[in-house]
Amino acid sequence: MEKKKALVVDDEFHIVQVVAIKLRNNGYQVDTAENGSDAYDMACQTKPDIIVTDYQMPVMTGLKLIEKLRQNPQTAQIPVIMLTARGFEIEDALKEQLHISACLSKPFSPREVLGTIEEILGQQAAV
């Protein structure tokens, strides 16, 4: 069975690493990027099954990345989980508009990230 592909985006190296290790240990193929711009290019190339992205990042924020993904028909359907620091929560309306699957607050639990990813992908598979 082909491994599910995940793209993890954060400008904080240790955060990217810990999420990547958690997902790899649980059977995912993981790519990483340190800003929204690099992540968008990578998403266009690799077409990941899911993207986990930070909100505040240099060059291009997580929100801008999602906007760009949604504008491109090739990436418009990729589910996205956003990691946000408390105080930078995304409004529900915007969440719905950009089809953000879930928002998790930092400090986050890698266990929770994995659980959320599996839930989203499981729902997709069921559909």
Partner: protein, 483 residues
């Protein structure tokens, strides 16, 4: 032709007594004639006649005046002028009444003069009070504007004149529409008058040539006894700076909480990974522990930076100043930052100072200053770049200047003036490195507030920046060779 008629002493006494009867107390002096010794009276008979004639002349004049006054006393009688029954002469009564009347009149005049003087003093006092109130109003930095029910400006202090750009003339009050161009304020004044609300507060932001100004505006209605609005008083307090500080605080809390959460997120995530057994070998376990340790240290440094700035600003920091070699402090700082620079393939040149001078410093603090400048230089210099740290003595001024020059991204001109401000981040350089905007502020606080020195920066975007600071040399100067 005048003739002198001889008279007996008894005749003279009769005349004198009659005169007293006629004149009452006013002619009482004549009665003295009666008691003149006989020889004197006999000798001065002619003189007595003359005296009586003069007295009678006076009497006639007094009678004429009294007659005129009788008319007044007729009215006075109705006013129950006291009647002295012992007086047997009407003229005497009139004289007594006239005397009383005159006394009362004089008393009233004196009273009125006193009252007039008091009123004069009160007017002076009121004028002074008015001037004082005007001076107080004009000394208030808040703009005060009073309008009446016909939209006329009844009062405007100096701040209001300056703010609205008009000259208040109390003798020729203008309409508020002519004085104030801010329609929103005029609208709210009108609304306040209609609603008759005693006090209502609005936060109004007005565009100005130097940027928008925010006012905390309180509109108060002055009501008469029937509840009608006589005047509306508008007091505008500039809260632009307070708003900026408040915004800065909010940004700070938001920024710092984000910065604190980043290492905390790593610590939390890696600890959970260890608990969940995600570290599949000893090396991975060591790596996870190393990350936790590193992030905990980062968290500690961040908290320490925030606390240090807070302590310096509040004057509560404990400063331990001793004479140290600045060159040695620089050398140690370079060694500490070297591995970080090597990771990015950046060379640090620290030409050995041939001479060094002694400075009276808190070694840990100045060490932190140099490390902050060096680590900033590494952060904002692309791989392969160079950093040079130098120190230079100025024997004439008795100072030593330390510079850290890099070949980094540089700082846009518009940001230079704010680069040492607390929490200030150069937006254009955000993509190169993260930070709280506290490091350079801490440098400034340590150098200037704690050590009485100064900081400076020069930069060319795309070519690099030079940060530096100047410290006064220690009084115990000892020029030595660096071994």
């Amino acid at each position: 032709m005048n003739r002198l008629i001889p008279m007996k002493k008894e005749q003279i006494l009769w005349i004198a007594a009659s005169a007293v009867g006629l004149l009452g107390t006013a002619a009482a002096g004549l009665a003295g004639v009666a008691s003149l010794p006989a020889p004197v009276a006999g000798v001065s008979l002619a003189a007595a006649w003359v005296s009586i004639a003069v007295t009678l002349g006076m009497l006639i004049r007094h009678l004429a005046r009294l007659k005129a006054m009788t008319q007044v006393f007729r009215v006075g009688a109705q006013m129950k002028i006291p009647f002295d029954s012992r007086r047997d002469s009407v003229l005497g009564e009139i004289a007594v009444a006239a005397e009383q009347f005159l006394d009362e009149t004089h008393q009233k005049v004196r009273q009125m003069q006193d009252e007039n003087r008091d009123l004069g003093l009160q007017v002076q006092l009121l004028r002074r009070r008015k001037s004082s109130i005007e001076a107080i109003l004009n000394s208030i930095q808040d703009a005060v504007l009073v309008t009446d029910d016909r939209d006329r400006v009844l009062l405007a202090n100096t701040a209001a004149e300056s703010l609205f750009g008009f000259k208040f003339d109390k003798d020729n009050p203008c309409l508020v529409h002519d004085a104030v161009s801010w329609r929103e304020l005029i609208r709210l004044i009108g609304k306040s008058r209609q609603s008759r609300t005693p006090h209502v507060r609005h936060e109004l932001t007005f565009p100005q040539k130097d940027g928008p100004i925010t006012f905390n505006t309180v509109l108060s209605c002055v009501l008469d006894d029937f509840g009608n609005v006589l005047q509306v008083v508008a007091v505008l307090h500039d809260v632009t700076r307070e708003k900026e500080i408040s915004q800065m605080k909010n940004d700070f809390v938001s920024h710092v909480s984000h910065e604190l959460k980043t290492p905390l997120a790593s610590i939390n995530a890696y600890a959970e990974m260890l608990v969940d057994g995600e570290a599949q070998d000893a090396e991975t376990t060591r790596q996870f522990c190393s990350v936790i340790q590193g992030q905990a240290q980062r968290l500690g440094r961040l908290i320490e930076d925030i606390l240090n700035i807070s302590r310096i600003e509040s004057g509560l920091i404990k400063v331990s100043r001793q004479t140290h070699s600045l060159a040695l402090v620089i050398r140690d700082a370079v060694q500490m930052i070297m591995s970080y620079a090597q990771e990015k393939n950046i060379a640090i040149h620290a030409p050995a100072s041939i001479l060094y001078d002694q400075v009276s410093i808190d070694r840990d603090m100045i060490s932190q200053v140099i490390i902050n400048l060096l680590s900033n230089a590494v952060k904002y210099t692309p791989a392969g770049g160079q950093i040079t740290i130098n120190s230079e003595l100025n024997e004439v001024e008795g100072t030593v200047c330390v510079t850290v020059a890099d070949t980094g991204v540089g700082i846009p001109e518009k940001d230079i003036a704010h680069i040492f401000d607390k929490f200030y981040r150069v937006e254009a350089n955000n993509k190169y490195a993260k930070g709280t905007g506290l490091g350079l502020n801490l440098v400034k606080q340590i150098v200037e507030t704690v050590h009485g020195g100064s900081v400076f920066v020069t930069s060319t975007p795309g070519q690099g920046s030079t940060f530096g600071f100047v410290l006064p040399l220690s009084k115990e100067r000892a020029v030595q060779m660096v071994s």
